[in-house]
Amino acid sequence: MALSAPAKANRASPVGSLVARAARSRELTLAGVLIVMATLVAIAAPNFLSPTNVVAVTALAAIIAIAAVGEAFVIITKNIDLSVESTIGLVAFAVALLLKQGTPIPIAWVIGVGLGLALGMSNGIIVTVFKVPSIVATLGTLSLFRGLTYLIANGHEVNANDLPAGYTQPASQTFFGLPLFVIVAVVVVVSAALVLRYAVIGRQFYAVGSNAEAAATIGIRSRATVFWAFAVSGMLAGVAGVLWGIQYGQLYASSASGQSLAVIAAVVVGGVSISGGSGTVIGAAIGALFLGLINNALNVLVLPQEWLQLIYGAVILFAVSADVLIQVRAQRAKARSRVR
């Protein structure tokens, strides 16, 4: 009864645990880079750390982070949601219109989030029931939802005057020193992280994204899982939309245009693999903060704002390539380790 030496059993796993370690520390690495960057910027531009600036940075980053959490759900299942920016814009505008007509604030907010949920579910239906690839489906709804915004805007915009007095105040309020939006974002991120980590349904998102066939063998219904991923994404985009309205007060039919890219970049930078099955919402949130920091740094250091798109693009390409390189290296190592 020959027992294999323990060394033999572990021989193959260093590659596996290395990858695991790399993934786990993605969040830490990113956080570290974030701190270093923040320090450098603070040294170069002292007004970076002023309370107003900190609140400004974190407010927008919080909004993107919340949307990024939703997007992460979708990307983990190996899909993509390009329509987030239009959902944010539509919900923000719709809520503003409701408030203008005198709807009580809490009710307007609930309707807004509900609208986001409905939009997300529409995406889910198009993808799972009609089997339209998510890229095409959300490319279409990106435009569709934006069109709806134009429809309800009917050529008008919303000013701060139309909104209840002091409506935009929460954007700059702090609670025990923390900006309000940050608290909201933290609540969202933590809840989502708990679900994804500790709920059985939460792990199903990962299973479906990692190996949909194996998931089916176990009895996990991938279509339902993907549907709910889109529903969550829409709902959280709705939350982001509500916050957007509070932050900016002034809304146009084109509000939040271009944010889809920021959201996806945040998710990808945060370590969520575009091929599904891995990554955390905490990483996505840190990614949002990271990109928000870059955005703000450009402002504060008086660098041209035009560089932003360039950086987003480079960041996406870099993060995606890095993921692939890690995978390729791991697989090559695995092939070599087979003794023949």
């Binding site: 020959a2 294999s4 500790y198 792990r203 990962y206 599904g276 023949r340």
Partner: protein
């Protein structure tokens, strides 16, 4: 002999019906009868070996037991009661756990999570208890005397480790039946020993184990009883102590060699010379040569490395070391199109996945590799294409309603002929055929063999990869047998017998075989 023997009582003390059994199960797929009236049973606390050639029906039995397929006639019995298994998760829930040849794991998730996916341990408020999961996984691995980091991510783990995880999955669900489908195909000797220890342990826990394998020495070492299948039929079931290796082989193989037309050909100069070819992880030190007019058979079990050798020769993969010479000149193909241009053609194993383009007609498929040659001025002319395809269609006797027919409309045999025609049109010097008559009915098979024979007579050098012993024996001038990536035998036509090839393929070195280079 057919049907389970009553010696089953010797092996295990059973009170009551066997936990799982097959009763008169038949299963057919399109043109092939995969199983015909097969009955067998598994007893608790036994390791039951299932042996047979490639294509004898072992894989189908595994799929029927694990719920992937339903029998056409007959039934699966659970504790003596017929039951209809709706699918793999249903079978699993009834206590039948299967470890397939290809692991079905989640590469991005940890080992522990993979083991428990589907029945994750929960703690307070129904939330997942990761600590419990890790502990239980560690316990399972400890009970198997294995050190595996249950917090490691599955991606990057060796095949052997992935298999262990699959076994742990089975054990974690309190299965009564454990089916292992060719578990040792990718394992080293060390890992095989480790696996055996685990399987014995499982047996000691009262589980009924079905062990499907090609490797006869393993069957003898591990199994209490063995069942032999041949051509979809049950041949015999008996305690392994009742058999010798020769007996098993005889039961597996015993058929008269069919008549395949093979005209004697003049063997000319060396066309292809392979020396010391190695692809780490697939095969090592493979050397042989192919002469004009010669058919070299490449025999071996699934996983022996034959297709991998062909892929390297055709430029699909790059070897790690070794040389290949075509017409005396060294060649290093980086893409199939380079190999094509040099005159090597490869008819792949799976004509659906790799051989044919669905939605294309016969003519479109046949001309695909030679398009640039056929139409040097870019523009295509239907008539040239049609006449070329019609020519080959006639020569190979492809039965269709015209070369404009979609290839999906053809029978398996005719589809295979289209693939061959496609490669013939490239006017190759060396033709590699990988399982050319798989899924082809007997009439077409004879025709395909005739074609191969004619090609050799015309001066081509042919490498014939086949798992069908009669085919290899009848067609080849020389047979090279691969075992676990290395050459285990090189037999000339006169020396080759089914038993000798089988021995070499299963790793037993029979006395009279000539050793490989």
């Amino acid at each position: 002999m057919s049907g389970p023997t009553s010696e089953a009582a010797d092996v295990a003390v059973t009170s009551g019906p066997p936990p799982v059994a097959l009763a008169n199960v038949s299963k057919r797929f399109a043109a092939t009868q995969a199983l015909l009236d097969v009955s067998m049973d598994l007893l608790p606390g036994e390791i039951h070996g299932l042996v047979g050639e490639n294509g004898a029906g072992k894989s189908t039995i595994v799929k029927v037991l694990s719920g992937i397929h339903q029998p056409d006639t007959g039934s699966v019995l659970l504790d003596g009661q017929p039951v209809l298994l709706h699918g793999p998760s249903h079978a699993r829930s009834l206590g039948i756990a299967t470890v397939h040849q290809e692991p079905r794991l989640f590469p991005d998730l940890t080992v522990a999570e993979n083991v428990f996916m589907g029945h994750t341990p929960t703690g307070r408020l129904g939330s997942i208890s990761w600590r419990q999961m890790r502990k239980s996984a560690d316990e399972i691995f400890a009970s198997l005397n294995v050190h595996l980091d249950s917090t490691a991510v599955v991606r990057g783990l060796s095949m052997a480790d992935q298999q262990l995880i699959e076994i742990a999955k089975a054990l974690s669900a309190d299965s009564r039946v454990l089916i292992l489908d060719e578990p040792t195909a990718s394992l080293s000797a060390h890992e095989v020993e480790r696996l055996f220890t685990i399987v014995r342990q499982t047996r000691a826990n009262g589980v009924a184990v079905l062990f499907v394998s090609h490797r006869l020495e393993e069957v003898f070492e591990l199994c209490d009883r063995a069942t032999v299948l041949r051509d979809g039929r049950h041949v015999i079931t008996a305690p392994t102590s009742d058999f010798t290796a020769a007996d098993l082989v005889r039961h597996m193989v015993g058929r008269a060699v069919s008549l395949f037309p093979r005209s004697a050909a003049k063997i000319g100069d060396v066309l292809l010379d392979v020396r010391g070819l190695t692809l780490l992880g697939s095969f090592r030190d493979v050397s042989f040569s192919v002469h004009s007019g010669e058919i070299v058979g490449l025999a071996g079990l699934v996983g022996a490395g034959r297709t991998e050798v062909a892929r390297v020769l055709f430029g699909l993969d790059r070897a790690d070391s070794g040389e290949v010479e075509l017409d005396g000149k060294p060649v290093h193909f980086r893409t199939p199109s380079e190999a094509l241009r040099a005159g090597i053609a490869y008819v792949p194993e799976d004509r659906h996945l790799d051989g044919l383009v669905p939605g294309f007609s016969i003519a479109e498929n046949v001309t695909l590799p030679i398009l640039s040659r056929l139409f040097p001025r870019l523009l295509m002319h239907k008539s040239e294409e049609q006449s070329l395809a019609a020519g080959y269609s006639e020569r190979l006797r492809i039965r269709s309603n015209g070369v404009d027919d979609l290839v999906e409309a053809l029978s398996g045999g005719n589809q295979q002929k289209v693939v061959i025609a496609k490669w013939l049109a490239t006017k190759p010097r060396v033709l590699i055929l990988d399982e050319p008559t798989r899924g082809v009915d007997i009439g077409a098979k004879v025709e395909v063999h005739r074609i191969i024979s004619d090609l050799a007579a015309a001066g081509l050098g042919i490498i014939l990869i086949s798992s069908e012993l009669p085919e290899v024996l009848a067609m080849s001038d020389r047979i090279i047998v691969l075992h676990e990536g290395r050459m285990s035998a090189e037999l000339s036509r006169s020396d080759a017998t089914e038993e000798r090839v089988m021995y070499a393929a299963t790793g037993q070195i029979a006395e009279e075989t000539q050793s490989g280079a």
